[in-house]
Symmetry: C2
Subunit: 449 residues, 2 copies
């Protein structure tokens, strides 16, 4: 039997063992209840990237709410010697009662930006580390990539751009696929092929047929006739199984049998897409199918989409490259202790000194300023008020264990579009660049306090 224990519903074990080992040590020496602050941030953006899009918060909040350990899991942890009896008791009644503040989902982040700040007891903060990072690193990598593809397509469809459809499910883990669809949608994709993403998150789903559909029929025309019969003339016909011009003629013929000048759209999934799209447009127009749209797919990314901007294309399907972060499949965020309660009740800033991984101690509040609607600066303030003209960039998401921020995905999607619009065109460029903004850390020393 392959599975030893079936997965439980709870996310508690989606955790690195050392979180629980550390918890056991803290419980043993009485420090698990000390107050602590942790920050999740990326030391740097992926090579060539100019900004990051924070994503995953909505999923994370639900996972934190459900973060429990059931009896079977605790028995296993005991049997394996991961935790002692005292730690097992702690986990049996565990609920996160701390506070989470974060950059809202869909908003920008830069090197060092505290994307998520967790404050609570040392014990409850430490056990969340792995889950926080798994969710933020995956979803932010996808959203950051998707935002570049949407930019290359001229923005969201509602902003005048061409639709980009997420269809990468088969290129990534089956559950990562659902999160990928969600992250791409919030970054401005029009829709997804993934049904679970539609069911769970209300994301529009699309999809018509694969090459297998045509191959399963005795002829391409028979396949198209069947598809139009079953799904109406508004359907999208995949025309490149055999020969594209013949495919287009068959598509128009199949639609014509139902009184339409052409199908809703054709899809081309191979060849030189710019050239094939131009030839397809000319042929469709020639055949009178002037309102038939052209969708292209096949290893599209932000660079290919940019190169296709002058081709007569109405929509793009992005698969592998969006699901794998277009070369950067993880956001590289880390989760670091920045302050710990002292014996006297005050908070002590802490920081790692390791030469290539140094961090700044103290809890950092994030503020941003804009000039003429364009993001101008970001500061991280360790103590005291922000400089004049700066507004807080984090929101309170969980307040002492209660979720207080749970926007609908459409709101998050709008927030992302607004955030991208707050960048100058240069910062949105998909060409290689450096972080458009370097946040400044204001410590009591640099503030002259």
């Amino acid at each position: 039997m392959e599975t030893v224990n079936p997965p439980t519903g709870g996310p508690g074990l989606l955790t690195d063992r050392y979180e629980l080992t550390m918890l056991a040590s803290f419980i043993a020496d009485g420090s698990a209840g000390r107050k602590a602050v942790f920050e999740a941030f990326a030391r740097r953006l992926p090579e060539g990237r100019r900004y990051g899009i924070a994503a995953g918060l909505g999923r994370l909040v639900e996972l934190v709410e459900g973060f429990r350990f059931d009896a079977s899991e605790i028995a296993w942890l005991r049997r394996e010697g991961v935790v002692d009896a005292a730690t097992a008791d702690y986990l049996a009644t565990f609920r996160f009662r701390g506070t989470i503040e974060a950059i809202p989902e869909g908003d920008l982040y830069f090197p060092g930006t505290p994307v998520l700040t967790v404050s609570g007891t040392l014990g409850e903060c430490i056990v969340l580390e792995t889950l926080v990072l798994s969710v933020l690193n995956h979803d932010s990598a996808i959203a950051s990539t998707a935002a570049r593809m949407v930019t290359a397509a001229g923005g969201r469809p509602e902003d005048g751009g061409r639709a980009v459809i997420e269809m990468g499910s088969r290129r990534t883990h089956e559950e990562a696929a659902v999160a990928t669809a969600r992250a791409a949608y919030l970054a401005g994709f029009a829709s997804t092929s993934n049904l679970a993403a539609g069911y769970r998150h209300g994301i529009p789903t699309v999809g018509t047929a694969a090459h297998a559909f045509t191959l399963a029929h005795d002829s391409e025309l028979a396949a198209f006739a069947n598809q139009v019969e079953a799904h109406g003339t508004g359907t999208t016909l995949l025309v490149d199984t055999y020969d594209i011009p013949t495919g287009i003629r068959n598509a128009v013929t199949a639609a014509a049998a139902h009184g339409a000048t052409g199908p809703g759209a054709i899809r081309i999934d191979s060849g030189d897409l710019a050239e094939e799209a131009a030839k397809a447009r000319a042929l469709l127009d020639d055949l009178g199918a002037t309102s038939t749209r052209i969708t292209v797919t096949s290893d599209l990314d932000e660079y290919v989409i940019t190169a296709l901007q002058d081709a007569p294309i109405d929509g793009y399907g992005a698969g592998t490259r969006v699901a794998t972060g277009s070369g950067h499949p993880t956001a590289g965020m880390v989760y670091k202790l920045v302050a710990i309660e002292q014996e006297d009740g005050t908070m002590r800033p802490v920081a790692k000194k390791a030469r290539d991984k140094a961090s700044v101690g103290g809890r950092k509040r994030v503020y941003r300023s804009t000039r003429d609607g364009i993001l101008a600066a970001e500061v991280h303030v360790v103590a005291g008020p922000p400089p004049d003209g700066f507004a807080p960039a984090q929101v309170t998401v969980v307040d002492h264990g209660t979720v207080v921020h749970r926007p609908a995905l459409v709101e998050t999607r709008q927030a992302c579009a607004s955030a991208l619009a707050s960048l100058p065109a240069e910062a949105r460029s998909v060409t290689d660049g450096v972080a458009w903004l370097t946040p400044v850390v204001l410590t009591p020393a640099t503030q002259g306090a």
Copy 2:
């Protein structure tokens, strides 16, 4: 409220919409019950790779067994217009009753190798496509990468190599993390940091402490004393939070307080690892801690591990690079219809002609030959018997809906080690190369039949 519908237990919706759209068309024209054969294969290996390791089969089999659509999901599919009434009825009672043959998990694959062959009705084969590819593409990408890291470490610990620990959970989606740990373990990793992987799959888990643990204490020595107190002198102490030589001295002091010459191991997570390991070994020996092992972590991959082979290191922790496939996060397999039943009951071979994505029609049986224990050739036979001296490479996994092949993960892990041992050293090299073996397709024409 962020979630529209909570995830259901079943994997049915982890599927691209077009699978169900095609199913609806097939049901409408009466062809859903025609017999069909689909093959999952990679057209090519990722750039530079010499072999692939097939992985995910064990997970996939359980997902196929549970592939159902519950009432809530079907109601949603109807509401969204994804399926019509007849298709909804079909899905309500869906169970996969077809046959799956596959390259056993942990075994090798090359360009074009039918890694998985599904035969059954057109309807039941088509709805599995997305799930088959999600699982195989993710898990095979990880296992193929992990096998290279294990090779760089000199093989599995039981084969004389240095232990490689999987610790990439925080760099990938939280569920992909569990599958990553599983794929890495079957490819020869010694253990994982991921607790769910231990709980669900019985994989050994390890983990001790992060930098936060040291930072949370008033001094490094206090942290180490606490850890040794809670976990014994066999624990691994992370010595690079502040200054490595001081950290090592503190580690030995903390162990000495409990009568040991040193802790079980120290971990170094920053700096020039070869240099730091050499200095650490010299210092440990100097302090009498000659049996304290040295583990290193920090962006390790097959190249860094190779470069560290002469350093006095006892174990490696690999994170980001194994969880993201070391530059190749997906295996790029596709799932193609290769044969379909005709009106007269015979099977017609089918193939796509698109110029850059052409495929060979007909169901291909996979056979391999060895010479002196080394894999010598692979043929794909469309019809007739294999050439002399060739043995079948696929096994029957599901026989008309019944799972008949469910090896324990330890067996799969042994199979992978044996498969790697069947490659010549040159083919196992982690340097860039081309597929070590190019399978030959034997069609009735090429067989002279």
